[in-house]
Structures are given as C-alpha cells and as structure tokens.
C-alpha cells in the first residue's frame, strides 16, 4: 500500500511537471532549437517573444542578423513609453513566400494586443539554414540618429480661469468654444450605419470636443445615439479641423429617416505643441495586398511623443468625406525622427478615393 501511494504521487508529479513544461512553451522551445522548417523557426521565435523571453529569442536568431540584443529588444518590446511597451504579442501568422535548400522568405504577421485594440505588424522575414536547424535573420532596425542639438521651442499654452462658484448669479464667466460641424455624411456599411464628416473649432481658444449623432426614424423617434469615441481629435486648437466617424453597429440604413448631430465643446487648458508633420503620404498596397495610406510622422518639437494616432479623412471627387480611418503608431515619436505609419483604405472606398487629409492625435507622458 505504501509503495502504491508513493508511485501514485511520483506519477502525478511527473505528469504535472510535463504539463507545466508544455504550457510554458517547452515544446515550442524544443522545436525552436530543432526547427526543421523555416515556418517552425519563425513560430518558435514568436513564442519566445510572446513569453517575453527576449534573451532566448535573441539567442535563436541567425548570427548573421544585424541586430544587437538591445536593438532587438527595442524593436519587439518597444521603448520610450511607446504603445508597443504597453502591448503584448497576441498571435502570429506565418506564410511562406519563397524557399530553397538554404534560405527562405516568409511573411510574418504579428498581431499585438494593446489598450487601444489590436495592432498588426507585417514583415517579410528571411530564414537561413544553420546545419540541421533554421534560424531567423532579424535585421537591425533602422534608427535615424539626430545629431545633438538644441531645439528652440516657444511653448504656447492656454490656461482657463473659470467662474468662482461662490459668485452670485449673473457673474461673468467664459463661454465654451464655438465649434461647427462642417460636413456630415451617412453611409451604409455591411451590418452598420456610419456617420463621417469633419468638425472645426471656429473659436480662438482650444476646445475639448465630442461629436454625437442620433439616428431618427420617420416618426422622429430615436433609433440609437452614439459618439465618435476615439475616431476624432478631441482637443482642437483654434481653426483646427478634425474628421470624425460614428459607428452604429446593427442598424440598417433603410430604417433611418434623419440624423441629429450634436457637437459639444468644453474650454480646456491645452498646449499648441508638439507640431507633428505628416510627410510623404501616398496610397499603396501593403504586404497583404490591401490598399493603405502610408507616410511618415515627424515630430518637429523637441520632446518625445509617446503614443500617436493617425486619423485620415478620405474624400471623393466632389470633396465629400466618404470614410474616416485611424491607426495607432506603436513607436514613440522622437524629435525630428521620421516614423512610418499606414492606415487602411477599405476595398470599396479605394476606387472612389480622390483626396485625403491626415491629422495626428498625440499623447505624451508628463516629464518624458
């Protein structure tokens, strides 16, 4: 009886250890060091990155990789408070493009989960045979080095002194900023109705803005009310124009008779900096053959921008807004350093797209 119990405990322990090893990626790690196909090698590398085992991931790379350890970690884990530093690799998809006996090219699609949704990173990765295993060649990320310099910035900022609550009725106060919806277009999309358009801060002070829309039936009763959430630049400086998009999932266009729009603005303290230029914007196809609007963001100020969101308004040949898309940039915008971005263009919008306009929302950590 005593021996049976000891054997039972021993067997259970072995099973649990094996289970833990399997769960912690031991199988994949084993596969990595014995990756017999290029796809296995890339998948194993992704597993290490997913588990944040950057040292092991770096050790598995082809020695010919140009990346050193710190640049590799910066590339996959992010730096400078960028969105990537708040993200984790959710999944990866590997598809072979070309292979011979010693080299292969695979398309790697990494899906990162972040607080603002999932972010795709598509790269074509080279894999080389190293004896009996395959190893990924991870090129050194191109980092533009800006020479040391002093960037003079005349910071411009608005502060608000509101009405004292102890003052009597009728005491002087400052009005909310005056904003105007300059265009609105209701479009039908599969499974939803979408309101797109633009809004302008017509005032001389900054505005914190929300645009809401209410879909109305023929009898004037509301169907649903939604706000623009993050598909708008909420803080608008004087005379700044922002696109907005409001989605109504599950609503059919034929049920909508009219739309009631409501732009609410608050007077808020704001800064006129940083200035972010959006250069070399072009329409092209990405690695997955989707139409994308690509370009580069250049932070023209002297302080880093940690998280940037690109908002793009697409116009048809009559100048009407036909779609508003957005995309987050997972790198921090360091001063004067161009950072690439890409924003999707839906397939049915692309043929009608004649012009576009891009703006950038930004977030900077205090003191960074």
């Amino acid at each position: 009886m005593k021996w049976a119990l000891a054997a039972f405990i021993g067997i259970v322990t072995v099973i649990l250890v094996a289970f833990a090893w399997f769960q912690s990626g031991g199988m994949k790690q084993h596969a990595m060091f014995s990756a017999v196909t290029p796809e296995q090698a890339v998948q194993a590398l992704m597993t290490q990155i997913q588990n944040r085992n950057y040292q092991q991931a770096f050790a598995s790379l082809d020695p010919a990789s140009g990346a050193d350890y710190s640049s590799f970690v910066r590339d996959v884990a992010g730096s400078d408070g960028s969105l990537r530093t708040y993200s984790s690799l959710q999944s990866s998809d590997v598809s072979p493009l070309h292979a011979n006996a010693d080299q292969a090219l695979v398309r790697l699609r990494m899906t990162w989960s972040s607080a603002v949704g999932s972010l795709d990173d598509v790269r074509d990765v080279q894999v080389r045979r190293d004896g009996s295993v395959w190893r990924v060649v991870w090129p050194k990320p191109a980092v533009t080095k800006v020479p040391p310099q002093v960037v003079s910035v005349n910071y411009l900022r608005w502060e608000v002194i509101g009405r004292n609550s102890s003052q009597s009725w009728g005491a002087q106060d400052v009005d909310s900023p005056k904003v105007r919806i300059t265009s609105m277009n209701a479009i039908s999309r599969p499974g939803r109705v979408v309101i797109v358009g633009e809004v302008e801060n017509e005032d001389t002070v900054p505005a914190y803005l929300n645009v809401n829309a209410t879909l109305l039936k023929a009898d004037g009763s509301p169907i649903e009310e939604e706000g623009s959430f993050d598909l708008i630049s909420h803080v608008l400086l004087p005379k700044q124009v922002s696109p907005y998009r409001i989605d109504f999932p599950g609503v059919r266009m034929d049920a909508v008779k009219s739309v009631r729009m409501d732009a609410r603005a608050l007077l808020v303290p704001a800064s006129a900096d940083p200035v972010i230029a959006i250069s070399d914007q072009t329409l092209s196809k990405d690695g997955l053959s989707r139409t994308v609007l690509k370009g580069e963001l250049v932070n023209q100020s002297g302080r880093p921008v940690n998280i940037a969101q690109v908002l793009a308004a697409y116009y048809d040949d009559s100048g009407k807004v036909i779609w508003v898309a957005d995309g987050y940039v997972d790198q921090a915008l360091m001063p004067q350093v161009p950072v690439p971005f890409a924003v999707d263009v839906p397939d049915d919008i692309a043929p009608r797209l004649k012009n576009y306009r891009v703006i950038v929302n930004h977030y900077s950590q205090a003191g960074s």
Binding site: S168, T182, L237, K239, A272, S279, D280, Q281, G295, Q300
Partner: protein, 291 residues
Amino acid sequence: MADLGPFFPRLSRLTLLCLLSGLAWSADLHVPANVEAGKAFSIPAEGSGEATFYLVGPDHVAKRTVNLGGAVQIESSEVRAAGRYQAILCGSSCSSATFQVKASQPARLSFFLHPSRVPVSMPDSVDATAFVFDQYQNLVLSPNSVDFRVTPATGAAFSKQSPAKNGVAWMRMNSTPHEGRVQVTAALGKVEEARVIQQVAAEACGLRIKATSSGSIMTVETDPVRDCSGNALPDGTVVSFTNIDRAGKSTVDTPIKKGVARGQFRVHGTAHINVACGVVLGNELALKGSL
C-alpha cells in the same frame, strides 16, 4: 403644529393655516393694499383680549399672540420678499386679509453679457441683459430705464438706453471692427454692473506664404496672419500647410506664433505648397526642391 395623524401625514402647517383662514368666520382685518418690501407697518386689531396672529408670506410664516384693541406691528424683516401675503387673526373667531408686497427701490443689477468672446464686425452678435433687483433680491417690476454704456478698447464709447419690462432690460449690438477688450456697463441710477467681452479677430483674410530653402529642407512661412479688418489672428491659431511633390503629399498643422506660422518640408522635385487656416485658403507656391 403637529401632523394630523396617518390619514393626513403630509398636511403641512402652511396648508392648514390657509384652510383655517378660509373656513373661519371672517371679521374685517384692515391691511394696506400695497406694501414696499422691507418696510415695517401695522395692522389695526379691533376687539379686546388676546388673539393669535399669523402672517403667511412667500418665504416664511410667522405666528404670535397679540392684544386686540391695538395694532399688530409687522416688522421690516417679515416682509422682505415681494409677493402675496395673508394676515390671519384668530380670537374667538378668525378673520383674514391679503396684501401685496412690492419690490423696493432698485439696488442691484444682475447683468448677463453674451458671448464672452466674439469675432469683430459681427452684426447683432452681442446680447446684454440686465435684471433689476432691490436690496432684498426681489425683481423690480416697476418701469425703469437701464443705461448700457459700451467702452471699446479703441474708438469712442457710446451708450444705449433700454426700458426694463417686468424687471428685465436688454439690448443687442454689433461687435466693433477692432479686437480687444470691450467693457459694457449696465447702469440704473447709482447702481452699476460691468462686464467685459473679448473681441477677437475674425477669419483669416489674404493668407499668403513665402518659402526659403536650406539644403533639402524648405521652410514655409506665412505673412502676418490678419483678418479683413487688419486684426492679427491670435497666437495658437492653427495654419495648415500642404506640400504635394514627387514623394506624395505632406502636411503640417502648425500654430501661429508671434503672428506668423511656419512649416518645414523636405521637397522632392517640383512641389506645390498651399496654405489654409480653418476654411480659408491662401496662395499656392510652385517650387523646385533639391532632392
């Protein structure tokens, strides 16, 4: 007075007093027809012995024992609120009378000036509304004339008289052509209340840019950005530069600083650079870059 039990749990003292005054046998109670708020007065109380006097007003109720055959003294503090009052005198029987308390002399103005910021030269863009109150916060309904005095930052001051109707006087005016502080004072007798609006530049007018190149970098700068009346647009106003060249389209939204806005582009080949401020477009430059 206590509540009347479970059947009348919410019957208030005030309601009961009103009920009593309606049901009781009424003797004459001589009250003045109109009383000025905050002025003491007396009500003759005929008869002899003691009685209970109630005064029910818009903002308070008073009760006290009085001696009949004299006068019931109403203190100034008991009639501060304008409105309808009811006096009830209960001895062997009850009698009641109503009287009206009217606001006293204007002592305060509540002044609303809207908006707090307004673009220059906008017709009917400024609303001034003054509410006339006495020293006890009663709206003064008697006819009065409020003087609205307007003092712009530049140019001559002017004023406009407006009669107060039902305690409210108002006027509407155009904003003047020059930016800056405009003080509007509402005055009624010795009572004055001042407010300030900020007149700001209107939309940009004649927006023009010029460019200078430094290597591959093209710096684009606006002329001082002004509206059609010559007022400078305030710093922080966003100006959008757009450059279209061989590499695609480049844009930069940059705030006006010290009167002008600047943007920088790397220009590839022939470039067309234009400028906009809000919904106003400026000129376009055609340039050749060094890249």
